[in-house]
């Protein structure tokens, strides 16, 4: 029941973050959204993801948004040119509702939530879980997969951060605009 309540709260916060025209409060709501997400992840036993989300999603991401807002405008300008905008919004919601219903129809064939026999949980996960203590002696399976079994993924991830950092520095140092 708590899980369902948290998930409904997530939907409300997401709706409010998209609806709000003051971008500053929208960003703060997004940060609160991330914090609720942290609780959801603790409930789903994904503890490593939870503290990454608390530091990166609720912390760093908010700081980046705020620093970007301080260099641009705080308020979203609503241009009211009547009919054209309404048709645009109507078409957008039509596309969104259609895509959403197709995706929800797709979940009917998926294994149930928490199903032990689901293919996701039986293909390679047991190999890592048994191997972690026997082969590496690391108690946290997430760490052993991240650092040892799928080390190249992590190397790629670090490359992505490095590239993004270099790109941001190059973009913000341009003086020719």
């Amino acid at each position: 029941m708590v899980d369902l309540l948290l998930l409904v709260l997530l939907v409300i916060f997401a709706l409010y973050a998209v609806y709000e025209t003051d971008l500053l409060s929208s960003v703060v709501i997004l940060s609160a959204f991330s914090l609720i997400m942290t609780i959801v992840w603790t409930r789903l036993n994904a503890v490593d993801v939870a503290f990454t989300e608390a530091s990166v999603g609720a912390g760093v991401s908010t700081i980046i948004f705020l620093s970007a807002l301080s260099r641009t405008k705080r308020r979203e300008e609503i241009t009211r040119n009547g009919k054209k905008l309404n048709i645009y919004n109507f078409l957008a919601s039509l596309i969104v509702i259609f895509t959403g219903s197709v995706l929800i129809y797709g979940t009917f064939d998926m294994p149930d939530f928490g199903d032990f026999d689901a293919p996701v949980n039986n293909a390679i996960a047991p190999r890592y879980i048994y191997g972690s203590m026997a082969e590496l002696g690391i108690k946290n399976f997430v760490t052993s997969i991240l650092a040892a079994y799928r080390g190249y993924d992590t190397l790629g991830e670090t490359t992505v951060i490095f590239t993004a950092g270099v790109a941001v520095v190059i973009l913000l140092r341009r003086r020719d605009l």
Binding site: D3, V18, F33, N45, F65, A68, D112, G114, I129, L146
Partner: protein, 122 residues
């Protein structure tokens, strides 16, 4: 019917969140608002992945003598990587938005398009 809803609602709510994010990305004219929509979209995908790795009665994937079943750790690892990638995309996108604001003085998509057309006519 009730069992069916209970067994699927996690996926459905992640899809609802995804669609809220998608709406923010395609219907809102403000560029920062589009990035906020993109963030919600990304988080919904993470929720979908982690929900798939949850096992009923499982404990957190950390070694424990009394544990009977562990949750699937692979989605957790993938999402740890994905969170970092998502923050990188957000940072680069916001840096580009700051540049756009420097050049055009606005972050509204329709106004930027008007200004670009004017520049092209000259």
């Amino acid at each position: 019917m009730f069992d069916f809803i209970v067994s699927k609602y996690n996926y459905w709510i992640s899809i609802v969140l995804m669609m809220i994010g998608l709406y923010g990305m395609i219907a809102k004219k403000n560029l920062v608002k589009k990035i906020i929509g993109m963030n919600i979209f990304q988080v919904s995908v993470f929720l979908f992945y982690i929900s798939m790795g949850k096992i009923k009665g499982g404990t957190a994937p950390i070694y424990w003598e009394k544990a009977v079943i562990y949750d699937n750790p692979i989605p957790h690892v993938l999402i740890l990587t994905a969170i970092v990638v998502s923050i990188s995309t957000t940072a680069v996108a916001l840096a580009i938005i700051i540049l756009i604001y420097k050049k055009f003085g606005t972050i509204e998509e329709d106004k930027i398009l008007e200004l670009m057309e004017k520049e092209n006519r000259r």
